[in-house]
């Protein structure tokens, strides 16, 4: 599939689906680079020195789990600071990284393998989980990703596997491994498989003093197991669990499940059979190469047809990040974005970052988020506050978006917003409301135009 002829609309679509939407210069950059080359750039992330510089003040990002634990012992407040820095890093990366697809996929895979930061001892390992288990593999092999997750402090703790032993089985991880991480709930496993997988993972534990994964042979169920009809011989030890991960990552249900979920995130709430089939085929034929699965989905006609449809409703997280990018904001703290008072934070929108309680993570279906009057009003109030430059930790210089245009000229600013944020697709009723803002009050008309455009129904979809 050759992408459609590139124009501002298609460039904006690519930025919206393979990233968090356009920053003020991004549509022009994609047009200049060429769509296919821009996509290849995204599939092969490169060093981003400007991003690294922005992240440098967040010192806790470099801590190992043992360091996080020992700092906590010295001062219990340190974990709160570290989790705030993790959130801030999440927003700085999403808003500023040139490797947008990598950020979208890191968010996607974290959510796919969700852990809850409020859970203990999970929270001491959440930062390393994202940085070491998830991020390095989002364009790599699924089996490597699955293995890194299974061996991680955060997942081991969140789904209780570290508590499971031959004498006292805990089947939480075993069930979610099949239902949520690999096969899908209808992927063809039984309660007996859940119990057998739980037995296979007995002995996988945490050394809480060392702050690391450990295998406890004495807690492992050494007898043979049968998983999905495959026999795991007796006495294999830790290899039992690795064999289960091999089996699950090669299973056709996993290929379809992953393709469906990626299709839902990147394309549509209801991805077409063509998208799922192409994605699953790529998954299987490349032995789970996740970059190839994305490439296959992006290569379908159904993907590009979406550029000319009504769009997919943004999740609150996508909405907030895309608004920050559209306005050219500089983020230095995520605190107000996530938990600020006044009913316009991600908490009020129902999606506080890193706080999805359930192993299912957040829904990737737009229609699960809107209609919802409370959450929708919080979205509107968020962007209206953003343009009045009152969001703590976020610096907004409207010149980044409107350049040398007259900030008092509503019509001129409306035209710029249409071009640089909407790729020329701003609906007539939105443009006409934007052009008609008054000049009263302390806020220049141009600021109001941007607030209204971002609060408009057109900006709720991507």
């Amino acid at each position: 599939m050759t992408p459609p002829p590139i124009g501002p609309r298609v460039a904006r679509f690519a930025l919206d689906r393979l990233g968090y939407g356009p920053r003020p210069d991004a549509i022009d950059e994609v047009l200049g680079r060429g769509l296919e080359r821009w996509i290849e750039d995204q599939l092969a992330p490169s060093t981003d020195g400007a991003l690294d510089a922005r992240l440098r003040p967040l010192s806790s990002l470099s801590y190992t789990i043992p360091q996080t634990l020992s700092r906590y012992e010295a001062d219990q407040r340190s974990i709160g600071v570290a989790l705030q820095e993790l959130r801030t890093a999440h927003f700085i990366r999403a808003v500023h990284s040139k490797n947008q697809l990598e950020e979208v996929l890191t968010d996607f895979w974290f959510n796919h393998f969700n852990v809850y930061q409020g859970d203990s001892p999970t929270r001491y390992g959440v930062a390393r989980y994202e940085m070491d288990a998830i991020r390095p593999h989002v364009l790599g092999r699924f089996r490597d990703l699955l293995g890194a997750v299974a061996n991680s402090w955060a997942m081991m703790s969140y789904l209780d596997n570290y508590l499971s032993s031959a004498r006292a089985i805990n089947e939480n991880y075993a069930r979610e491994l099949m239902e949520l991480h690999t096969l899908g709930v209808d992927g063809g496993y039984s309660q007996s498989d859940v119990q057998e997988v739980a037995r296979a993972f007995t002995g996988w534990g945490l050394d809480q003093r060392a702050g690391a994964f450990t295998f406890r042979a004495g807690s492992h169920d050494q007898a043979a197991k049968t998983v999905l009809g495959q026999r795991l011989p007796a006495g294999q030890g830790k290899k039992d669990g690795e064999d289960v991960l091999d089996l699950l990552s090669r299973h056709p249900s996993t290929a379809r499940f992953i393709a469906t979920k990626l299709g839902r995130r990147l394309v549509s709430d209801t991805p077409s059979e063509a998208i799922v089939a192409r994605g699953a085929e790529a998954f299987t034929s490349t032995n789970g190469d996740l970059a190839e699965v994305v490439r296959a989905i992006v290569g379908t006609a159904d993907f590009w047809n979406e550029a000319f449809g009504a769009g997919k409703i943004k999740t609150p997280h996508e909405f907030v990040v895309s608004a920050l990018r559209a306005i050219g904001a500089e983020v230095t703290s995520a605190r107000a974005l996530v938990e600020g008072r006044g009913g316009s934070s991600l908490t009020s929108m129902g999606m506080p970052t890193y706080e999805a309680l359930d192993p299912t993570g957040w829904s990737d279906r737009g229609t699960d988020w809107l209609p919802n009057p409370g959450s929708h009003l919080a979205r509107m109030n968020f962007v209206l506050s953003l343009v009045s430059q009152t969001t703590e930790g976020v610096a907004v210089d409207l010149r980044t978006l409107i350049g040398n245009a007259d900030a008092a000229d509503a019509a001129a600013v409306t035209a710029i917003v249409d071009k640089r944020v909407f790729g020329g697709t701003m609906p007539a009723e939105v443009a006409s409301a934007c052009r008609s803002v008054g000049s009263s009050g302390s806020l220049p008309a141009g600021f109001k135009v941007v607030g209204l455009a971002l609060a408009s129904p057109a900006f709720q979809a991507r």
């Binding site: 209780d160 805990n170 709930v185 009045s388 409301a433 302390s442 607030g451």
Partner: protein, 409 residues
Amino acid sequence: MPFDPSRRIFLKGAGAAAVGLGFAPSTLLTRAAEAAGVGSRVLVQVFLRGGADGLNLCVPHGDGSYYGLRPSIALRLADGVRDLDGFFGLHPGLASLRDLYSEGLLALHPTIGNAQLSRSHFDAQDFMDTAAPGNKNVHDGWLERVARQVPGEDVMQLVALSSRTPRSVLGSHPDLVLQDLATFSVRAGTGGSAWSAEADQLLRGMHASGSTPAYESGRAVFSAIDRIRTTPALSSAPLNGAVYPGGSAGSGLRQAAQLIRADIGTRAIYVNVPGAFDTHANQLAANNAEYPTLAAALVAFRRDLGSRIDDVLLMVTTEFGRTAAQNGSAGTDHGFAHCGLFLGGGVRGGRVHGTWPGLSSGSLNEGRDLRHTVDFRDVFLSASRWLGVADPGQVIPGYAGAADPGLFA
């Protein structure tokens, strides 16, 4: 049948007579229901997300097997379990509900379920919310179907007090989903109130037509803003000295009471309670953290409503109960039958309903879970009839209903 104050028996008797005409045309039935005074009835569903364990909520202290199955997490009367009827007792953290039980306003049913409910949180919650277990082609919510059976298309008829839209209210009827009634208006930061008013007007104009979800959702925002602004009762303080705890249950039920007292046509309210109910490990500590807050919220709700509690039926539900035996981590894994808690004038209170299947190894489902004795869909159907919906047959797709569980009157 337990003792009920006579006035409530009279009201309930009239409502029951009206809905007894199940074969009558729906318009006649609606009129009969209105004549019987059920037009002001309100159904409140409180959903404990995570699969709350029923056996440590409604404790079967009279069943010896319970103690054998849970050597370190079973609760005894000596631990503070409040006895209800000589066989069951309330978790110590719920002890304050004992007075509501004595008053005849509270009932429990410890064995609610459905054979097709899954052990997956996600599927089981969806199946409860759609009331279509095993059928993934039903997407709209059961409360949404209830709301469609109530005359009118008003956004206030069905309110979900939740930051996320629960599937139970998804569908074509306009519903209000929000966390906080008190701050529900366009607020444009420091640009001043004139700018907020201007933004409100211009955003209304933008959303006036357009049929995609973003436009529809925007219109619902503004109709809700208008309704809330013109209803001062929605900001009234709790009555009768009621004090609500913080958290989702407290803030949800405080606002549910405001909606009920405001009399603006709200007929169904959903209160989402995410919490530490998925107790795979250290269950005692988790329950001790959650239950006192839940009980305090229910007690405050009852006090706040005064005699209006007669028009209310509140159901506390969860997606599944948990394994009968404790697991290796002083917790319990995903099970089957769950315990429902029912509060209000619509409830046949002061008793634990249902038959007890027992916890001996032979009586457990798949050798591991408490069996259910009533289908949750029959509970939902019965609640819909109590509410006086025009055609209860439309509430649960493809299910005619078994015997009425007799929870409500």
